[in-house]
Symmetry: C2
Subunit: 281 residues, 2 copies
């Protein structure tokens, strides 16, 4: 997805948020803001939002000398999600369509985003997501693709959301590779975060080899790119993966909550809509 003009104010806000997460004082925050203003003046307008976000968050990490500003937020999010995990398992096991409910629960986890942890309503989102209609509904195509596939490449998103992904992966009857970031960026899950979520018990954990937001294939490792090319089915979680991966590949299913109005408009869905979207050839 290309970068829209509406993304610019949001980049500035993200930079400020990230600086604060990193514990920057007022002066350092102002410095980050000025650096971001300069950066936004020299951007390649063809870059996707996560590519720009990558540059911004890299600067924040350098300026604040904090390698992982979101470390606490990620740990807390995973702990909170783990508390809900027994409920998720129980809900899925008792559902008329366990797979359908597990997919919805995986989408619910996408509400965990880079904002402060107090700013998302996990329980409320779970209650909504298990009942609300899907704004884009390729659920049956996903069910069918998984029934025919020999394996699944599952590209994760945020720490904490990982636990919701696990609830889906545990009921799948095929080998799953779960891909995480090669290094900290925003609150995206790394290997440590995935292990804390218990994903190593139900999936082979792999790294994309990249610490840019989303999945910018040219920035991933040769090993990851090979696995990506060979995968019969791919689930890509969250907004940044939708923004960076090609929407033209029918092996890819995007699972997300369209939290951002720009992404929602790009998808042709209402803001907040629940998305199961297959790439179309």
């Amino acid at each position: 997805m290309r970068t829209y003009l509406d993304c610019y104010p949001c980049f500035l806000r993200q930079a400020l948020d990230a600086a604060r997460f990193a514990g920057a004082d007022d002066e350092a925050q102002a410095h980050v803001l000025q650096e971001t203003l300069a950066l936004l003046q020299t951007l390649d307008p063809a870059a996707t939002p996560p590519e720009i976000g990558d540059q911004i968050h890299r600067r924040v990490r350098e300026t604040t000398a904090h390698a992982d500003p979101y470390d606490t937020v990620k740990r807390v999010a995973t702990e909170r999600a783990l508390e809900l995990y027994p409920w998720m398992q129980h809900h899925i096991a008792g559902a008329a369509d366990p797979f359908g409910q597990a997919v919805r629960i995986a989408i619910a986890g996408n509400i965990i985003d880079f904002g402060p942890s107090s700013q998302y309503d996990l329980e409320g989102t779970l209650a909504e997501v298990t009942q609300a209609p899907l704004a884009i509904d390729d659920l049956e195509a996903l069910r069918s693709a998984l029934s025919r596939a020999s394996s699944l490449l599952y590209i994760g998103d945020n720490a904490g959301e990982t636990v919701f992904d696990r609830a889906l992966i545990e009921i799948l009857d095929l080998p799953v590779m779960y891909a995480v970031k090669g290094g900290p960026v925003l609150n995206d899950a790394t290997l440590d975060d995935a292990r804390m979520a218990g994903l190593d018990a139900c999936a082979a954990l792999i790294s994309t080899g990249s610490d840019a937001p989303g999945t910018i294939l040219s920035r991933t490792s040769p090993d990851f790119r090979r696995r990506y090319q060979e995968a019969p089915v791919i689930i890509a979680k969250g907004q940044a993966n939708y923004e960076t991966l090609s929407p033209g590949d029918p092996r890819v299913f995007f699972l997300l909550k369209a939290k951002c109005p720009v992404i929602a408009r790009d998808l042709g869905a209402a803001t907040g809509g629940l998305i199961v979207k297959q790439g179309s050839a």
Copy 2:
């Protein structure tokens, strides 16, 4: 009020909104955005947000060659408010405390802001404001000051909001001067807007002589400054007047809805709070 770092993303969004209101195409919008980024890098950090907004909106008007991007929005807002005017009069006349309710209705009008007209809920706000407690409550001090005063200087804010101000002014038993902007900026009321709201029937309309947002006294006309200095009581409506006028003058009463979280924090109130705040010496 000083400019906080959180204001920067908002300036960028405002510039984009204003460019769109002015009918700018994608290229012109991108140009406005780049100009705003450059402007934000060279700002006097001691400037108040409306002083910075003034520079931004001036650039937008120049770039888009549109002298009054908000002309339609202002007319529609005034028309909508006039439709509600009979209800306001009826509600005030029937209230146990007509003055208290008229002040609340004047505050309700402050929900009309520079966003698209579809993005504020006028009826919902009226219903809320007539009942909700005031977050800062200097209503009795205002009542007392008006009972002793020989006249009132009422500094208006947005077009449409003017009609709500009129509902308060019409029940006051003293001569009122109603001050509007000297030229178009955002959706702030000018003389034409005030006349369309019917304010000329109950107040002497005067111009601040400035087309900057809020009331930057150094930018107003000598005539307005004299009237300001001589006024026994002043009502200043809206966020921008709070941001620009001294909070240290007990003659001034700020009436606003604290829509912006930064202003709310500065006031020590919750976002959305209804404010009747007397300046403290």
